[in-house]
């Protein structure tokens, strides 16, 4: 080991505590970044793999823009010149469980009926992707590689025979399926066993006729893929006459011409897409989701750069004498600067390595949470397998190193600039240069001005990243205010502290001023951490209250009814008309609202077209409109004109307003409809177009019902209506029958789950800040050993010294957290009014929360004071003489 390297590493080893804090700071930042990227990347990769596997070798697809398209389109598509192969696909996602139908147990007792929302029946834990295929045209797509079971890869001829036998069974016998080896192994299933799927809530046992051999499908949806005959898929899920896709194999040189031809041929319910198209769409959705989280992980990195800067700068000051010696011995400025940089590099390498390790561990947990959120929000397949994407890992490591070296650059240059002679004198002051307060103030002002400018810019241009830029400038601006705030705090607090806590408190307050350069980086770190904490709290709190108010005011049905699995299968769900009529006829039921919806694509964006009973909504519901108009007026207008209502997010995304005319891509052909109102709605950020059930049935040639809302007559008991309805459904159909309060709870539960990751992230940012406080205070106190020694020599008691340090550290926390509250308030406004508005177009009623601010301040003061405890003890314990000798 060379002497210089030793010189670089020795200080790290000498103060292991501080080194550890720095390393941890970097590690946490890197870990959070890596965890979020790995988790969202894995979720996306799993989805894209599923799409690839499910697509087979297709190089062009006709994809339903919603709830399927008319299957006769298939014959026209396959006849196009240039199409070499065409495979029709019915694709449904459904809940399932291994095993057949359990013997009915006392179906007459209502409590035994597994209909109650408490779900007393067997659990349907697996989400399956059911592919209905036509075996006869599958050969070029390599999806239907089937085997009859136990045997591994036998002789080719035998397995060919097997495949044919299995294929024929799927063809001839209703309710037969082939499952992946993965799924078979997970549940110990064999050919001949059953798997029960929920079709519109009806448990439907499917007999396993074969095992899917295709390797790609083993991994798709985590192996939860089921292949069945296309007729079976249509029969079981009530999708007769509809296809979800036609996968094409097209001569590559004719792909564009076929695509153009399809563009002319296809109705609005179908579109020609390259197989990557669907992945792209989901990628965009996931990216928007991941962007928020990544931004948060940068906060953690940002906070830790303050701390590294601090550690490095302090190290320069503390070892000024060593530097002087080295310089006097002939070491060049560059070499000295490099020495410090290599020290930073050591921290960076250690921190990054630890961060990668930690990040990978965190990612497993994050994947579960992120995956669940993505599944809920975007119906993306859940995955358990984490992909250690080397690119993300390198970027994470690079981020750690870059942040460390970047933040060490100034201190290193300062070290290099040390004059050889100057430092050899005893008693050099800790602070070498006064802080350029004016310059910092100007910089802060500029930054805050930029914040306002970019916020205004993004509000007028609707370009989303402007919002993030604005938030960034806010953080930088408030960080730059930290030194000024520290000085102000010191000046303000010193007299007060003196009066309240005696001379030692006044000294503590004044010490802040002495060490302002170092103290203010800690204050800045605290500002950022507290700012984020407060801002997120205010934003999420405001949002949650808005949603809660919305549900309470507008969701007025007494019972909400949907088949179990509806949320998984979506529009591939329908209730028999006699059940709907039966519900209307139940005693105690005042009205029944019906729901039918389909995803649609407008202007390249996902949205939902929804048919509800506007008459029932008008007479019993309480929809609320942005125009402030009374719901009765708006709904009557819509009923008379056959017009539609759009959600606020739809209006925002598609720039439509009341009175505009929309062209809907309906199944029966493009339909022009008038927008009769814009309603508050927080159920989906994709945006919704609501219309009367009759209008929907006409436009989409579809009068089916997916779910119901029951309004109970005044005086009737909702609970007994619920029991009556459950009895009406009978034991063979599993339904969620949720009372109003339950629905509200569920919506809020989904809401809270969405923000779980957010809380974890900001917790980490706060943790990093606290680490910084501890390490900086320790250093600050140790540096002032001589001063403390003099105090002790002059008669200060240990208790006084301890109090002095506690006051100093408490004030540090107070300054940081107060500034953080200011930053938080500003950031919250940006998040709610700018970023959220640009991303989702939701009106969120902004509400500051003084409670959380008080808590944050109290927390930070206490944490800082506690952080000062250890160095205070250290300082107090030192013999006066020893302390004085030190300097």
């Amino acid at each position: 080991m060379t002497i210089t390297r030793w010189l670089a590493l020795r200080p790290l080893l000498r103060s292991p505590g501080r080194t550890l804090a720095s390393v941890l700071g970097v590690a946490l930042g890197v870990a959070v970044f890596v965890a979020i990227r790995l988790a969202s990347g894995s979720a996306l990769a799993a989805f894209s793999d599923t799409v690839d596997a499910v697509t087979g070798r297709s190089n062009l697809q006709v994809v339903a823009r919603g709830d399927g398209f008319d299957e006769t389109l298939y014959t026209r598509v396959r006849a196009l010149p240039g199409v070499q192969a065409a495979a029709p696909v019915v694709q449904v996602t459904a809940l399932a469980r291994p095993g057949g139908i359990l013997p009915a147990s006392a179906p007459s007792a209502p409590s035994a009926i597994p209909n109650a929302d408490g779900d007393t029946g067997p659990r349907y834990d697996e989400t399956l992707l059911v592919l209905g295929l036509d075996a006869f045209v599958e050969a070029p797509f390599f999806r239907m590689e089937l085997a009859s079971g136990e045997r591994g890869k036998g002789s080719l001829s035998a397995s060919e025979g097997e495949a044919a036998a299995a294929g024929l069974r799927l063809l001839a016998e209703p309710r037969t399926i082939a499952i992946t080896r993965t799924l078979a192994t997970r549940h110990g299933l064999h050919v001949g066993d059953s798997l029960t799927v929920l079709a519109s809530g009806v448990p439907t046992p499917m007999s396993i006729a074969a095992v899917i051999e295709s390797e790609a499908l083993q991994q798709a949806m985590g192996g939860n893929v089921v292949i069945t005959d296309i007729a079976t898929a249509q029969e079981v899920f009530g999708r007769e006459g509809r296809l979800d896709r036609v996968d094409l194999l097209v001569a590559p040189e004719r792909r564009d011409s076929v695509r153009a031809e399809l563009g002319r041929l296809l109705p609005p319910t179908a579109a020609a897409e390259l197989p990557q198209g669907r992945t792209k769409q989901v990628e965009n959705m996931v990216r928007a989701f991941a962007l928020n989280l990544t931004a948060l992980s940068f906060i953690a990195v940002f906070v830790s750069t303050f701390l590294i800067f601090n550690t490095m700068a302090m190290s320069v000051v503390r070892r000024r004498r060593d530097i002087g010696v080295l310089r006097a011995l002939g070491m060049t400025r560059g070499a000295v600067a490099r020495l410090w940089l290599s020290e930073a590099a050591a921290i960076g390498v250690l921190g990054s390595a630890l961060g990668l390790l930690l990040g990978t561990l965190l990612a497993r947990g994050a994947l579960r949470v992120v995956g669940r959120t993505l599944t809920d929000l975007y119906l993306v397949a859940q995955t358990d397998s984490l992909r250690l994407d080397p690119f993300t890992l390198s970027v994470g490591a690079g981020l750690g190193l870059f942040a460390t070296l970047g933040s060490a650059l100034l201190p290193a240059l300062e070290a290099g600039a040390t004059a050889p002679g100057a430092t050899l004198r005893q008693g050099q002051r800790i602070e070498s240069q006064p802080l350029p307060l004016k310059a910092l103030g100007v910089a802060a002002a500029v930054s805050l001005a930029l914040m306002v400018a970019s916020a205004l810019w993004t509000m007028s241009t609707h370009i989303a990243w402007g919002g993030f830029a604005s938030a960034f400038f806010a953080i930088v601006g408030f960080s730059l205010l930290a030194p000024g705030a520290t000085l102000a705090m010191s000046s303000l607090a010193a007299p007060l502290a003196g009066r309240l806590g005696g001379i030692e408190a006044a000294l503590g307050a004044r010490a802040l001023r002495e060490a302002v350069a170092r103290a203010s980086t800690v204050v800045a770190a605290l500002t950022v951490a507290v700012g984020m904490l407060v801002a997120l709290h205010v934003m999420v709190g405001s949002f949650r209250r808005t949603v809660d108010t919305w549900i309470t005011q507008t969701i007025k049905g007494d019972l909400y009814v949907e088949p179990v699995g509806h949320r998984t299968s979506g529009s591939a769900t329908s209730l028999p008309p006699e059940l709907v009529q039966g519900a209307r006829d139940l005693p105690g039921v005042a009205a029944v609202d019906t729901y039918r919806g389909t995803p649609i694509t407008m202007n390249g964006l996902l949205a939902f077209a929804i048919g509800i009973d506007l008459r029932v909504q008008r007479d019993h519901g309480h929809l609320s409109f942005t125009s402030g108009e009374d719901a009765h007026t708006v709904l009557t207008r819509a009923l008379e004109s056959g017009g539609v209502l759009v959600s606020e997010s739809f209006a925002h995304r598609h720039r439509v307003k009341q009175g505009d005319t929309l062209t809907l891509p309906a199944a029966g052909g493009a339909a022009r409809v008038r927008v009769e109102g814009v309603l508050f709605d927080y159920s989906t950020d994709a945006g919704a177009v609501l219309m009367d059930a009759a209008t929907y049935a006409k436009l989409w040639n579809d009068d089916r019902t997916e779910s119901l809302a029951l309004y109970v007559k005044p005086g009737a008991n909702a609970d007994s209506v619920r029991m009556a309805f459950v009895a009406l459904c009978g034991p063979e159909r599993l339904m969620h029958v949720t009372p109003n309060a339950g629905l509200r709870r569920r919506v809020l539960a989904v809401f809270d789950q969405t923000f779980q990751v957010t809380w974890a992230l900001q917790g980490i940012a706060v943790l990093v800040a606290v680490l910084g406080v501890v390490s900086t205070l320790t250093a600050l106190v140790l540096q002032r050993g001589r001063e403390i020694g003099m105090l002790r020599a002059n008669g200060a008691t240990r208790a006084q010294v301890r109090r002095m340090v506690l006051v100093e550290s408490g004030l540090l926390g107070l300054t940081g957290s107060l500034l953080g509250c200011g930053a938080g308030a500003v950031l919250a406004v940006l998040l709610v009014q700018v970023i959220n508005k640009q991303f989702f177009g939701w009106t969120v009623r902004f509400q500051l929360e003084p409670g959380i601010m008080l808590q944050a301040v109290a927390l930070m003061v206490v944490v800082s004071a506690l952080a000062g405890l250890f160095p205070a003890q250290l300082a107090a314990g030192r013999a006066a003489a020893e302390a004085m000798r030190e300097e």
């Binding site: 299957e71 044919a164 294929g167 063809l171 001839a172």
Partner: protein, 377 residues
């Protein structure tokens, strides 16, 4: 007779779960049916044309089979175009899905380039859904993708189109002689037992003209074809291992059809039979005792390893007819890829020999099944 095997093969799979044995419920009804509800071929059966050209969905298996010898631009070709319909067990009755399969349709198309010594072959299977494939039960038309066979509006001409990736064959076939019913009482018995039989007729000589598109060229071709149409619901007997089938068009205007079902023990099914058709269209049934078929050579497929006889002598002592049968090309093996991948040899042959000392020549087609060494189903 031929494709029984193919069909049985495809259906054997199905029979493992529901078809069950052809446990005929014939005792109760005038028209006996299988356990799965298919009608059995039992005597008597009176053919009626053109109705019987069309599909008979009440029977489990059915095929329309055309072979022929063509000439054009100085080149000679042999072709085979066959459509199969296999009824599935009726488990999807009442389904509202257009894809619910009651039948599976197959097409096999082969072209033997006699001069170029090259054999081309393609096959496909489809379900009759959305018009992609089908067999009309009222008016004769069977089709799969673009390939079809049908009766022209004139009620006489058979129009064929066979589409392969590398060639297309469009032919018009005129019935040179009236249809010939094989077997007795309209039933061709394949093995002992009620319904182990089929209704089987042939158009043994059909003057043919049309076009062959191959390699960017379009050739006008003429020649003669042979059509077989057979339908029944019987299962392949467990004691059979395969069959050898011969169709011969002699230049003196006569035709000959012979088949022998091979038994697993090496013998020949006693019910094996044939038909001889006179130049004037009269026909006679031939029983196994009336003919002797002896292989004179062998050919082993490098593709499947199947070891086929190749070249035969055929003796009909009662007719004083002695023939040697020689393939125009050794490799005319069809290794089908669709649904089950049945493998058989079906090829154009040249026939020469003597009758009462007078030289006779002719052309023919031979079908050989069950030589792959594995169970054909």
């Amino acid at each position: 007779m031929r494709r029984v095997l193919v069909l049985a093969m495809a259906m054997a799979c199905a029979s493992t779960f529901t078809c069950g044995a052809v446990g005929a419920a014939y005792a109760a009804a005038p028209a006996p049916v299988t356990a799965a509800g298919f009608r059995l071929a039992v005597p008597p059966y009176a053919f009626s044309f053109p109705r019987d050209h069309a599909s008979h969905p009440e029977f489990k298996t059915e095929w329309w089979y055309y072979t022929g010898h063509l000439e054009g631009a100085g080149r000679e070709y042999g072709y085979e175009l066959t459509f199969f319909r296999v009824g599935l067990p009726r488990l999807r009755e009442g389904s509202k899905s257009a894809w619910a399969a009651r039948d599976v349709m197959f097409v096999h198309l082969a072209l033997t380039d006699v001069n170029g010594k090259r054999f081309r072959f393609t096959d496909a299977a489809r379900r009759p859904a959305l018009g992609v494939a089908g067999a009309d039960s009222a008016h004769y038309a069977v089709w799969l993708e673009r390939s079809f066979a049908r009766l022209a509006p004139d009620g006489r001409t058979h129009e064929l189109l066979g589409v392969a990736p590398d060639f297309e064959l469009a032919l018009d076939l005129a019935p040179g002689k009236p249809p010939i019913a094989h077997g007795a009482n309209g039933v061709s018995q394949k093995s002992p037992g009620v319904g182990n039989a089929s209704h089987y007729y042939s158009l043994t000589r059909m003057p043919t003209r049309g076009q062959l598109r191959i390699g960017g060229d379009t050739l006008a071709v003429t020649g003669e074809s042979w059509m077989d149409h057979e339908f029944g619901s019987g299962a392949m007997s467990a004691t059979h291992s395969g069959w050898d089938w011969f169709s011969v068009q002699l230049d003196d205007g006569r035709e000959l059809m012979l088949y022998q079902l091979r038994l697993k023990d090496g013998g020949i099914e006693p019910l094996s039979s044939g038909t001889i058709v006179e130049a004037d269209g009269r026909s006679r049934h031939l029983s196994l005792a009336d003919f002797r078929i002896k292989p004179t050579g062998r050919w082993k497929s490098p593709r499947t390893g199947a070891d086929y006889p190749s070249g035969w002598t055929v003796e009909l002592p009662g007719e004083a007819l002695s023939l040697t049968v020689a393939p125009v090309l050794a490799d005319q093996e069809l290794a089908a890829t669709s649904m089950g991948g049945v493998v058989y040899w079906e090829g154009a042959v040249r026939v020469r020999g003597t009758q009462r000392g007078r030289a006779v020549t002719g052309k023919g087609y031979v079908e050989l099944t069950g030589y792959t060494g594995r169970a054909p189903f």
